[in-house]
Symmetry: C2
Subunit: 296 residues, 2 copies
Amino acid sequence: MFTGLSAFPLTPLRDGKVDENAFVGLIENLVSAEVDSIGALGSTGSYAYLNREERRLAAQLAVGAAGDVPVIVGIGAVATRDVLLLAEDAQAAGASALLLAPVSYQALRADEVFELYETVAHRVSLPLVVYDNPGTTHFQFTDELHGRIAALPNIASIKIPAVPADPAQASARVTSLRAVIPSHVSIGVSGDAAAGNGLNAGCELWYSVMGGLFPRTARALVKASRSGQAERGLEESARLEPLWALFREYGSLRVIATAAEILGHAATNCLPLPLKGLDGPSTQRVAQVVQTLQLA
Amino acid sequence: MFTGLSAFPLTPLRDGKVDENAFVGLIENLVSAEVDSIGALGSTGSYAYLNREERRLAAQLAVGAAGDVPVIVGIGAVATRDVLLLAEDAQAAGASALLLAPVSYQALRADEVFELYETVAHRVSLPLVVYDNPGTTHFQFTDELHGRIAALPNIASIKIPAVPADPAQASARVTSLRAVIPSHVSIGVSGDAAAGNGLNAGCELWYSVMGGLFPRTARALVKASRSGQAERGLEESARLEPLWALFREYGSLRVIATAAEILGHAATNCLPLPLKGLDGPSTQRVAQVVQTLQLA
């Protein structure tokens, strides 16, 4: 489950409610593209904006539509109490693994984050993915803290933020983290523009935003990088630069939601307010990039 | 309601549930100290960690215990849908005003934040306080955006973060904001260490963390600053420097929660996990500061 491509689909809304048909359609697209795992209710799946009932529904729909493809379900919340309830729900829905970020309102201290993972790790029976995403949580993990958490039971993987653009620095980053965590804990890269570099640097998998909508393109990048053809992975990543540029400008979630709307995979206004898709001119840019890069 | 001292109490927990007796006790302490308003379910009131039922309960308890003192209730949440439900609940509970921060998971764009306030402002009948707190929301308001929001119906006040330590810069900050908002919209300072400076610079009120537990000390500072004795306000603030130092080191919420526990105003572990009070040695430092500064 923790190698190759882990694809994170949107949880599209229609009139403010989970669009069950659209969501199942996205999952089926991932299954037919033979992704290695599906990350339901990740940041791209808007987990932080949905209530417990919506998250339970989405987890059930994802597992139901995923067939043999393992589903990793996001259980993050600001309150530990809610994380534990969401973990129960995800386990009951048939998730294969759980994804947990230290979602913050008040800035968290390292011992608080450790205790969060310790509490959850001892209460679940599924593999747990540590979700290191300072862009949304504003919490900065140290390698020392990663090491302490990775030694807990049930920890299976770490989803790290973008590695540096310089290949040598990317390699140093992955090597330094690898040195403090057990070998059974995989390292997965996120920040799509960094995927080729991260895979070349030793990450076992890519936790992918674009892979949730364009899994075949994402698979090609993973395949190139993991077949010893490091240069081909970087070339494919470079080819996708117009998409990464949109991600940088608008945030990957807004771009992917807009692309899903353009392609009819989601209804208009599929993001939970206050988040919004892009305006007319920006939507045209997304459409053009989707066409030029032959993503659809 | 939007002048003087607005005191923000904890919402203390006991065994993970709202400690109704302790919370009412804190409110009664504020009433007897004759604060100008009470800010229930602010950041210090852990609003972001409590569910809808807990927040409804806390709003009802606060209004019930506050007598004639107006209660401002925090309605922030990441999803606009939830903000609107919380606004309804707070209005039904008898709140006198509503406090709304642009709580973020994905970084918000200015137009998304404007639309959030626009939506809420048109749906409520109570005065609305714009809660500008980049430390927790990671959203940076521009003065231009403040001006657009302040022109919406029902906007009554802006709760700004700490003003600069330099008095001239603090004055420039408040003057520049004042220039773009209508005169009926008050400006309140937060960041307790900046209160004296903010009041001297023209802020009409102090949205106060320490005032939620130590209202008499906070009132003395406000009184000094607002009676034309600017120097006395700054002297009082300087006297409290050991408390501000603890706030800087541990976050004001953890310090105030620990102080409340020490003084018997809250049970131990009164914060919602993953947040924790301080450890033994740090607790002793808090106890010493409370005693030395004669806060209790």
